[in-house]
Structure formats: structure tokens, C-alpha cells
Amino acid sequence: MDRTTIDLWFGAFVTAGFVALLVLAFKVGNLGAERAAETYRVEARFDNIGGLKVRGPVRSAGVLVGRVQDIHFDNERFQASVMLALDKRYSFPKDTSASILTSGLLGETYVGLEAGGDDKKLAAGDRISITQSAVVIERLINQFLFSKAQEDAPPPKAAAPAAAAPAAKSPAAAAPAAK
């Protein structure tokens, strides 16, 4: 078969295109960053999962140890049932506790695992019994206002706006500071 310059150009073009795709896949995208290690599934039930999503991270001591595999609503207990796929390299005691946490103020929601002291290890299909739900900011503010109102009891009406005022002011105060 005779070779022509067109062949060379075609080859170069296709190679460049594939290289670009590989760059997008491995350098820009997450392919290869975490190749699916072998996992085992553990269930955890929460009263409230907040903004947790499927494929969200599971961290212990801040290290990624697994991913959220499935989330569904348990209609008998009225709780969220979250399936965690944990990396086989890591094993946790049976009394490990799981909580829904957020990284930073606006960061992603993740499941945090805190190891307990049990000798037995969590096995596939086990359930994490000690769980802590997501913190709902509105509820937090309500509690704060409530306790504040109880503290200086006599005029409860006056305390509520006073407590709300700094909260409303602070973002406005922060914005010029950032500039």
C-alpha cells in the first residue's frame, strides 16, 4: 500500500483527538483518579440526610473511604436508608458511628464515619446503628432564638429581633470586607 501525506495528516489528527479525549478523561475528569476498588456495602439510617447525594463521599478522619451508593426512603420507619459502599482496604469496628456533615459552609455534604471501640468489625450487609442526622440551619437558629428568649425572659418579644439583627447584618458587613 502506498503512503500519502493525507495518511500522515489523518493519523496525526486522530492521534491528537484521542490524546485530547484521554486528557479530558484522566487529567480533567475523574477516570483513573479513583479506580473502583473492591467495596462492601453497609447500611445506615438517618432521620434527615440534608443534601446528601448518591456518589457522595464517605470520609473517616477526613480521608475518602467510600461512596454513597444508594439512598431511599424507608416507608416503615420514616427514615432515610443510605447504602454506603466502603473500600475493602478499610475495616471499621461494629460500633462505628455515622453522621451527615458538610465540608465548609457551602461545601458538599458527606457521610463521616467515626470509629468506635468494638473488637468485631463491620461486615458486608451490616447496619451502622449509631447515626447523627444532618444539621438543619433553620432548626439551629430556632433553637438559638428559643434559648436566647428564655435567658432574658421578661420581655421575650424584644429579645427575638435583637438576636435576629446581628445575623441579618453579618453578610452585609462581610461583603465590603471581602472587597
Binding site: F10, A12, F13, L21, V23, V28, G29, K179
Partner: protein
């Protein structure tokens, strides 16, 4: 009285005529599309025909694609930095640049550039072949112009488009890197690690490739059809070339909306 009624009627009649004509063209174009698919056997049996067209529409578009990808990425980097700075999240600049390029700008802008760089050339070439009766001559020699001229150009476009879009996106990310990390001084590790955490291979990269393949099909079908359908005059060819660029651009943007609506569904 009758004249006045006529004067009122004419614009409406013209509008109706244009509409019917448009629907007609869509129908003919659909038939044309299937005809191209039916006569693509030759393109693969004699793949050199396709390679030659990939050279003309793909390889020769490389310069414009790479340079504009670089600039678009750089502009995204600058603009993104300007906005993210207000929230103290400048490390997310990589995420912003990569996601917007891989999901949207890569396929769309590359397709728009491809339509104006290669699509218009295809239309002009086929239109001129028709004017000089080369297509008729081929028919006379029992060579199907569909198989010999149209189908290779179609497949060349479909093959080149994803590669061009990927190159565009990769160059854009590099441009964002140059602005963000090299010039502004965002942390290199955070730039790449946040990007990798946010860009998903299947949802973002592969969907971008799917988009670009669809755009490649749309642009080359429009370009070859306009050329094939052009009135065999100088004016006809010039009009067909204009129409290729305009209708490809509109088709790309409309298709992008539809595809994005399909792809983003069910992610959250």
C-alpha cells in the same frame, strides 16, 4: 376593492408560502439524510475518500479550533477569577473552566467554528460542482455523486467533530490553567484536584462527546444538503453558503438546548 384585498393578502400569502417551503425543505433534508446513510457503503470500502475529507475539513480546522480554544479558556479563567474572588473561592476556577468547556463550550463553539470554517467550504464546493455540472457528469458515468461526493464528506464531519471538540476543550482547560495558575497564582494542586473531583467522566466528558457527534451529523448534513440543493448559479451558491452557516448555527444551539435538557435530568 379587490386590489386592496390583494394587498392585504400578499404578506400573509408570502408568510404561508415561506412556512410551507420550510417544512418542505425539512422533509427533503430527512430524505437526503437517509439517502446519504444508504449510500455510505463506498465511504468505508474506499476509506481514503473519507480520509481526504477529514484532512480538508478536520485537519485544516485544527488551527482555528486550537487557537480559539486557548483564548476561550483564558477568558473563562479571567472572568471566573474576577467573580470567584468575591466569594474567596478562587481555587474553584479549574472547576468552572473545565465544566463549562467540557459540557457546553467545547462541543458548541467547536461546532459553530466547524460550521463556518468547514461547512461553508463543503457547501460552496458541492454547489460549484453542481454549477459546473460535475455531479451530472458523474451520474452519466454511472458514478453515484451521493456515494462518491456527499457521503465521504458527511462521514468525515462526523469523525472530525468529536476530536475537534475534545481538542477545543483540552486547549481551553490549558488556557484556564495558564491564566489561573501561571499568571494569577492559584494553587496548582487545588486547581487540578477540585477539577477532578467535580468533572465526572460519564456525565460530563462522554455527554460532551455525544453532543459533538450529534452536532457533527447536523452540520455536515446541512452543509452537503445546501450545496446539493443550491440553484446552479453564482448567486444560488453564495446564498446556499450563507444559509449553511446560519441554519447550522441555529440548529446547533437548538439541539444543544434539547440535548442538555435530556442529559442534566436525573443528576441531582
Amino acid at each position: 376593492m379587490a386590489e386592496r384585498r390583494n394587498r392585504l393578502r400578499r404578506p400573509i400569502a408570502t408568510l404561508g408560502h415561506k412556512f410551507v417551503d420550510g417544512v418542505w425543505r425539512v422533509g427533503v433534508m430527512a430524505r437526503f439524510f437517509f439517502l446519504v446513510l444508504a449510500s455510505s457503503g463506498t465511504s468505508f470500502a474506499r476509506f481514503r475518500l473519507v480520509m481526504r475529507e477529514v484532512y480538508f475539513s478536520g485537519v485544516l480546522s485544527l488551527v482555528i479550533i486550537i487557537v480559539s480554544g486557548l483564548f476561550v479558556g483564558m477568558v473563562l479563567g479571567l472572568q471566573g477569577y474576577e467573580t470567584l474572588q468575591k466569594y474567596g473561592a478562587t481555587e474553584s476556577i479549574g472547576v468552572l473552566v473545565a465544566l463549562s468547556l467540557v459540557r457546553e463550550l467545547g462541543p458548541v463553539v467547536a461546532a459553530l467554528l466547524f460550521a463556518s470554517r468547514a461547512g461553508s467550504a463543503i457547501t460552496a464546493e458541492i454547489g460549484l460542482m453542481k454549477v459546473t455540472e460535475q455531479l451530472t457528469a458523474m451520474d452519466m458515468m454511472a458514478v453515484s455523486p451521493m456515494a462518491r461526493v456527499i457521503a465521504p464528506r458527511f462521514w468525515a464531519g462526523v469523525i472530525s467533530m468529536p476530536f475537534l471538540a475534545a481538542l477545543f476543550a483540552a486547549m481551553g482547560v490549558f488556557g484556564g490553567y495558564v491564566i489561573g495558575v501561571v499568571l494569577i497564582g492559584v494553587d496548582n494542586g487545588a486547581f487540578w484536584s477540585q477539577m477532578q473531583a467535580a468533572v465526572d467522566f460519564r456525565y460530563d466528558v462522554l455527554n460532551g462527546v455525544v453532543k459533538s457527534v450529534v452536532f457533527g451529523i447536523a452540520v455536515t448534513i446541512i452543509a452537503t444538503f445546501e450545496g446539493y440543493d443550491a440553484p446552479p448559479t453564482a448567486e444560488g451558491v453564495s446564498r446556499a453558503t450563507t444559509r449553511t452557516v446560519v441554519s447550522s448555527a441555529l440548529t446547533i444551539l437548538a439541539l444543544d438546548l434539547v440535548l442538555t435538557a435530556f442529559m442534566l435530568r436525573g443528576e441531582d
